[in-house]
């Protein structure tokens, strides 16, 4: 039982691969930490595993079955992988209440409204959102509260695997610890988690294994390695100017 990436080659521009021939396994019930410098492809690999970015070669399997493209995902399989993004503000509709945001996966799968409300309230409580916050819109809550809502939205679909892309980058230590503890309990209940972060101390305290992405790149292929910024002070220029 695992979420696996098999020989993934992926890039953003045709003819240039950011990652070549990557293998990664996230066993059910364990936390795999993924780290690496800015621009090394952590987020891209995470998106490939979540089925949000199609690799140019290789395949992703969920418990042995191939991951189908997002547009054709239906029913149970749709809920097998959930993803948390670094900026909750860009991952939520500014016009919806937190309650509606958290309930969206249930609405999509046609859960009756009364049952939906109950599930939303128990899930919200589990991630530390008090009932008064559920009626607010994203601009009326803090980033940490909104990220708690995003975690509730992810957990409410009862996924088998959860991809956390810099989930705690915008959070304070107390919120981070609280959310990580919820996720540790979920992992004990067989959820497989990929935790992408550049916070090494957090990953060492949280993850069962920590993988440094540059080390996953096969030795023979040094090209993508050379693409990493030479100067640590200005990594942005080589990776984000498009």
């Amino acid at each position: 039982m695992s979420l696996r990436a098999h020989n993934i080659t992926v890039g953003h521009t045709p003819g240039y691969s950011l990652l070549t021939d990557i293998d990664l396994t996230i066993p059910a019930g364990s936390v795999v930490g993924l780290t690496g410098p800015s621009g090394s492809g952590k987020t891209t690999l995470a998106r490939v595993l979540a089925g949000l970015h199609l690799p140019s070669a290789g395949a992703v399997t969920v418990d042995g079955e191939p991951l189908t493209p997002p547009s054709r995902l239906r029913g149970r399989r749709q809920r097998s992988i959930a993803m948390l993004f670094p900026s909750p503000r860009q991952a939520t509709s500014p016009r919806w209440t937190l309650e509606r945001i958290i309930a969206e996966p249930l609405a999509v799968t046609g859960t009756p409204a009364d049952q939906r409300a109950r599930t939303v309230h128990t899930t919200a409580l589990r991630v530390g959102l008090t009932a008064d916050l559920l009626q607010r819109q994203p601009h009326q809550v803090s980033d940490g509260q909104l990220q708690r809502a995003c975690l509730a939205r992810a957990l409410i679909q009862r996924p088998r695997y959860l991809i956390c892309d810099e989930m705690t980058a915008m959070l304070d230590p107390a919120t981070t610890a609280a959310l990580v503890h919820v996720l540790i309990e979920e992992a004990d209940a067989a959820l497989g988690i990929l935790a992408v972060s550049h916070d090494h101390q957090l990953l060492h305290a949280w993850a069962d294994t920590v993988i440094d992405l540059p080390e996953l790149v096969p030795r023979a292929d040094s090209r993508s390695r050379c693409e990493y910024p030479a100067s640590p002070a200005l990594p942005a220029q080589s990776t984000h100017w498009r």
Partner: protein, 310 residues
Amino acid sequence: MTTALVEARGLTVRIPTRAGTVHAVSDIDLRLDAGHVHALVGESGCGKSIIAATLCGLLPATATATGTVTLSDGDAVPTELVGTRENQWRRLRGRRIALVPQSAATFLTPVRTVGDQLTETLRHLRSRHTVTSLLIRVGLPDAVAALYPHQLSGGMAQRAAIAFALAGDPAVIVADEPTSNLDPQLTSHVLDLLDDCAHTGAAVLLITHDLAALPTHADRLSVMHSGRIVETGSTTAVLDDPGHPYTRALLAALPEHGLSPPPEMPPELTSLPHYRVTHANCPVSLLSGAPTSLDYRGGRVIRRLIGAPR
């Protein structure tokens, strides 16, 4: 003796929402000194950003603020910020108090270049600076002026935001989580820039989640919980010898200290029962369990139970 540029006394902010009144900020005493970086930490949702919004006149129109926030820079007559009208704020915002926003990339107009927007800012502020000089000051290449916000990385956008804040030579800079989303190198670069601002005489309020960066980048530190300041003191004193249980809980939540979640969930701050509202010092938090007050001893302020032994 340093001069207090901004002094908040008993600042209280209430925000009406559909679900009831939010007790966003309660009874805050805060003092920002020229040439110093004052850090403000606390759990998400505890009211840090509301304090930033109050200092910059950016509270929602429906919010009510009470207490006093006095801005006194130079020989000018001290200005009272609570209750200031929007037309007066236009003479203060950007000129005497500037904000470095949390997600800089979304703060800029997406369809205009950085240089174009910075030029407009400089014209409005009648600033003596140029686009190039400001970009150089924040360590960005000149070419950035020709870029659109989506072409900037997080770190570049954050430095660009500091350039915007510096355009009017403000006496007070409020930086609301300027380094969330940045990796460690970029974080220290941005914090160094804010240190430089303080060295040239500005008072900096640094709202942050990054406790590790505090000893090198902040002179004083206030810890906030559920809308109240629980502890203020020199950064090293507060971190080495936390006086309030919540400060200890916050430090214990750090991965290197065991990643222990805080003992209680952030409390609800909406439509509090009558007795909690009318008693100015009554805690919202279960951590203290009874009315508290701020206990001043030298440079150190700790919120304690009223009548508790020191």
